[in-house]
């Protein structure tokens, strides 16, 4: 394990940024985001960014191809945003777990090469949590916020930054950096995590097993009734992975891009034959069924939620996965 006085954090960042782009969580609580590091940029004091770290691998908008029209000729131009090596510092345990979930979707056959390119170029430095929010429930999903995964795990304690490489890529990063000394991190006080109000969420009613029972649960109607159909939950969610492909007519051609879609939107998976989920109830249900039933059914019981709590904080009407879990979980109890 390496260590570095926190007073030298800026120097460390500068050293990383010398060779590759470095993103760190910066900004005020509520709007903090992963921001390209520049001289003087400070780490946010917020626990987490408003949008998740998935943006760096799966950005909200991404160019796919251009079609240039000259007279009656159409030329297809590959227009991939170039992937360059980068380091993502300060990813929390929850967001880090979300990469595993996204990998299972985008890196399985057929591989999403746009995602893959970024994934291969990115080195993830996670940061252990010490001050959780009341909305945190990663522990209820088997994640240890004090010992996150990633290529490198970082801890901040007693004036030092401790770093541990978990992968070859992590080793490579650490070995390239100056200023680091050997050191062991002190034992962390975990008592605050024991006080988290959502730590004991019961997920036993979910998983791939009881699909139709959950699908037909009567509770969906009252859960969905006040949903506004905005995309906030999906856009702040680290594991939402749906996208749409759109064409933008520039006048001189077409720019084809993909962008995040939201199952909350009325045109979600709209096809020429119509909308397979015509009501908000069905779209609302889709979101939670996907995370809590379909995804586990396809991925050995792993849930599509990492307990980051963003949807709890951001939903305009305070409807969220925890309330869904409670309502449907209650039902399932004998």
């Amino acid at each position: 394990m390496k260590k570095l006085p926190l007073s030298q954090l800026d120097a460390l960042f500068a050293a990383i940024a010398e060779k590759r782009r470095l993103y760190i969580p910066a900004g005020e609580a509520g709007t903090a985001s992963f921001t390209p590091w520049r001289e003087g940029l400070k780490l946010t004091d917020a626990l987490n960014t408003a949008r998740s770290a998935k943006d760096l691998f799966f950005p909200q908008v991404e160019n796919l191809a251009d079609f240039k029209v000259t007279g009656k000729q159409i030329q297809v131009i590959e227009n991939r945003d170039p992937a360059e090596p980068f380091v993502l510092f300060g990813v929390r345990a929850c967001d880090c777990r979300s990469f595993d979930i996204l990998d299972k979707v985008f890196l399985c056959d057929p591989v999403d090469t746009y995602y893959q390119a970024r994934r291969e170029q990115g080195t993830v430095v996670t940061l252990a949590c010490t001050e959780p929010e009341e909305t945190c429930f990663c522990t209820a999903l088997g994640i240890d916020p004090t010992d996150p995964a990633g290529d490198v795990t970082a801890w901040m304690a007693e004036g030092f930054l401790y770093l541990r490489a978990n992968t070859a890529r992590g080793e490579e990063l650490l070995s390239s950096l100056p200023l680091l000394e050997e050191g062991e991190k002190p034992e962390q006080d975990r008592s605050v995590f024991e006080k988290l109000p959502l730590r004991d969420l019961d997920w036993s009613a979910f998983g791939g097993e009881r699909m139709m029972e959950r699908f037909n649960a009567p509770q969906w109607a009252s859960l969905a009734e006040s949903c506004l159909g905005c995309g906030t939950c999906t856009f702040v969610c680290p594991t939402c992975q749906c996208y749409d492909i759109k064409d933008f007519n520039t006048g001189g051609g077409v720019k084809r891009y993909r962008c995040w879609d939201s199952c909350m939107y009325s045109d979600f998976t709209l096809m020429s034959a119509g909308q397979p989920r015509p009501t908000q109830l069905e779209r609302f249900r889709q979101r939670f069924m996907h995370k809590l039933v379909y995804y586990p059914a396809n991925h050995e019981g792993e849930f599509g939620c990492v307990g980051c709590g963003r949807c709890l904080q951001k939903c305009p009407i305070s409807m969220n996965i925890v309330k869904v879990a409670r309502a449907l979980g209650e039902e399932a109890k004998p």
Binding site: E131, S226, C259
Partner: protein
Amino acid sequence: MQERVKAKAIELLESGCRVLGWKAGEFFYDVTPAVFTSREEIERDFVFNPFCGANQSKYLIAESRRGGRVAAFLKPCDTYSFQQLQKEHRILRENVYAVGVQCPGMCDMDALRAAGLRGVTGAEDRGEKLLVHTLRGDREVDRSLALSERCRVCKSKKLLDCDEMIGQQGEELVSTRFTEVERLEAMTPEERFAFWRGELSRCIRCNACRNVCPACSCEKCVFDNPASGAENKAPASSFEENLFHIIRAFHVAGRCTDCGECSRVCPQHIPLHLLNRKFIKDINQLYGPYQAGADLETRPPLVDFQQDDPEPSIVGERGTNP
């Protein structure tokens, strides 16, 4: 207040109404709008606390068309939206039993978080104070600290068009709500441009502002409609800065009651209300005071005119600080 509202909810339910109210959540603050149809539900889940700030009038568009009567608890500012939506024939008034609830200002979790409170697991309403429970122990804070922006500059405590009231009827207030608009107007164009670029470029086009807005209740939004030619689904390039938010504000100009929901729900904390307030301020100055939703009769300023209205060149003539 909680007990009176709850008792009224039960009474109205038993008189045959469905009741639009608030359902308790995990914490004190995460209440969800809900329609109650049984006494058990109300007794178990119904809450009315300082965090019940969302404007529920928009739900009445659908609820008033569902058959039967629906009862709703509306704060003064909600009643303006309620009346505006009637004016636009969206809410069927005869199917709504409106209970006006006088309001001391509503709290906002984001305001508490901005005040540095973290890990808030609960709170107790103690009148002027709020006792906040956190993961690291309890803290007592002034209720004013927790008030949302719109409540700090509340424009009216008047309850409009209610079938009944809980609490006293209030008055229109002298509000300082245009101060921030004035501050921006006083800037140079470059500063204003930088300010708005900074704010609007955070937009993730989640549409929360639009979907929560009572005025934005179009059957189909132009920005969602591929046939409109103006559709744009994602924050690609500068579409939100240059089109979406300007047109959205324009579409609700003269109809926006300044309820402030757009800013409340924005996950990126963009002060969208400052766009709407600019229109309101301009309308008041150029065409005479107008408050959307204040009555059912007055023609909204954008579907009205006077022969001697000022010319558009007034924008240049009056300078940056009108």
